[in-house]
Symmetry: C2
Subunit: 349 residues, 2 copies
């Protein structure tokens, strides 16, 4: 499914041969409308959305080669899919329905029309998966590497919008899926890259790593959970997506809601493959889950009253609860000791 | 007003000292709400917009150091202002009212907190000018240089939305302001950079270049024209903004509307300073106007019926009219000869 050095293409057409507007037209033709929210897509100064009385949510992500992805082990198709998942995950975290994305591409001269096509193949697949329209494109040259600027819009009914700062004390803290897998996928791919660089004859050895590698290369925005919650008639009291690691997201929810949180080590969902991979890399599976990032699972709170309904969703785990003690962001260990949750990104202090 | 080497700052705080979330909070605090359209700004997974029954327009721009700007002669404050103008100009071109912007920042390690502050000073000034809210921020590291990813939203009443493809034959083709100045500003700044690099003791010599330099460094999105058209009760039949040069934009309007266009050399608005600068650089002022780009003026068509009203707007010039002859995109020269309009970006053919 994947190969090292994803930039290898059989045919190479220089972008200059078809021109900037040629490239935009070439790409625009691939996208048919998935959404009746879209009134106008690619081909004018802006896209036009008819929100039909709903609220509109908007978000952006900037993905830079060498910072956010390494094309040595990231097939361009997967990168395209992942870029869409990453930006739409924020839309899911508002309990909204995604409608449209816009893509800004910065391309150094090592990228051909074929390589852009490969990237867009993944973007197109993701648009079908999430039923969104690509409604804008901006392509430009870049002095170094690939730059992907993603913007997304979505719609949400006023009474279903879910923010970060509205959790209540004693609400149940829930998380979808499992955590830490994307980081273990990254470690596995990095190790194979080093093996390959020292001996290009070697084939990548990813036996027993298929799940964690897929979680790194092709994460999913959890709209399946959003739809299940809607079917159950449950609106979470607060929600955020796990892009920076569970601990960081819990601290964000607590800060925004002016509350504390208490979670339980024994409840944190970690897949067996993540556990085994972490052990193999001499890492703590728990640290991978708490600080790994890039899992794009949903972390949300529900009222005690709604919890029995949410409990029925197969892929959701209750990991703790919110407390009135503002400075308490703690984890109860299996040993019954209590540790503080910490996360990078909140400064040196 | 401006100086070479804009990155020089008296104080230098490393971004690592305050952390990514620290930087986002630091920046978010500077923005108060300008718009009652904004329901939720910075600080959640997405921004939330209440369009109150209007259509929503969205657009993005990717600005990359070394491709779109040179910090040797672009003060960061001006860059911030310009980035907002550039992305909002597309909103103006839909006859819409701008409401919100989001900013993705990629920063190499040569940028300090103070340099980001300088950039945001310009962004803040532009937000006050255009009365928009900054509702999202994404900051990340960049392996090389500064990357600015801008996204903007706006609102427009359904009956005032103006597209590119709706011009009619015999509509009057109008342009705001004057053309070619931004290119002459760029040439002037580039020349001073070369002088400075060969002798750092030299002070920049921009006597007689203040207008063209300002047009390059601090362009305005023409919402003044949008408001005047609204006051006159005129909805253009088609519109586009002049980011790539007049000729390119005329071809876009013609292609989208399935029409031809005939413009007159004698009517093309060129400022005296642009004219003199072009002559000084041994360039044709007409070519600067037709292919220069970055002027961010509005090119639009109005019906013959509406034209007497539009004629009253001081800063609008009628330059020609649309024709039924699809392949005719021509300019009538002062000598009465006729030349075809051509523009780069439409491929090698």
């Amino acid at each position: 499914m994947w190969r090292l050095f994803a930039l290898y293409m059989e045919k190479r057409t220089e972008i200059g041969e078809i021109g900037e507007f040629g490239l935009i037209n070439h790409l625009a033709l691939q996208f048919t409308g998935n959404q009746d929210w879209t009134e106008l897509g690619i081909g004018d100064d802006t896209a036009v959305l008819d929100p039909k009385g709903n609220k509109v949510v908007t978000t952006t992500e900037l993905l830079i080669e060498g910072v956010h992805f390494d094309l040595a082990y990231t097939p361009l198709q997967h990168l395209g899919f992942k870029a869409v998942s990453v930006v739409l995950s924020d839309i899911a975290a508002m309990n909204a329905i995604p409608t449209q994305i816009m893509i800004g591409l910065g391309l150094s001269n090592r990228f051909s029309v074929e390589s852009v096509d490969a990237l867009y193949e993944g973007i197109r697949l993701a648009c079908e998966e999430y039923k969104v329209d690509v409604v804008g494109g901006d392509t430009t040259s870049s002095p170094q590497g690939l730059i992907l600027s993603m913007a997304a819009t979505g719609v949400v009914e006023a009474d279903k919008l879910v923010k970060r700062g509205t959790a209540k004390a004693n609400d149940v803290l829930c998380v979808s899926g499992d955590l830490g897998a994307a980081l273990m996928g990254l470690h596995s791919l990095e190790r194979e890259k080093q093996v390959f660089l020292s001996n290009p004859e070697m084939q990548p050895e990813l036996e027993g790593k298929s799940y964690v590698v897929l979680r790194q290369l092709k994460p999913m925005a959890r709209f399946d959970i959003i739809h299940e919650l809607r079917e159950l008639g449950v609106v979470p009291t607060s929600m955020i997506d796990c892009s920076d690691g569970l601990a960081s997201e819990i601290i964000h929810l607590c800060n925004a809601s002016g509350l504390g949180a208490r979670i339980f080590e024994k409840n944190i969902p970690i897949d067996d493959e993540t556990y085994l991979s972490a052990t193999e890399f001499n890492l703590s599976p728990l640290t991978a889950a708490l600080n790994g990032g890039e899992d794009y699972e949903l972390l949300f709170t529900v009222s005690q009253e709604d919890f029995p309904k949410v409990e029925k969703i197969a892929d959701v785990t209750a990991i703790g609860y919110m407390t009135n003690i503002r400075d308490e962001r703690v984890m109860v260990m299996k040993s019954d000791s209590i540790v503080n949750l910490t996360a990078p990104g909140f400064g040196n202090s």
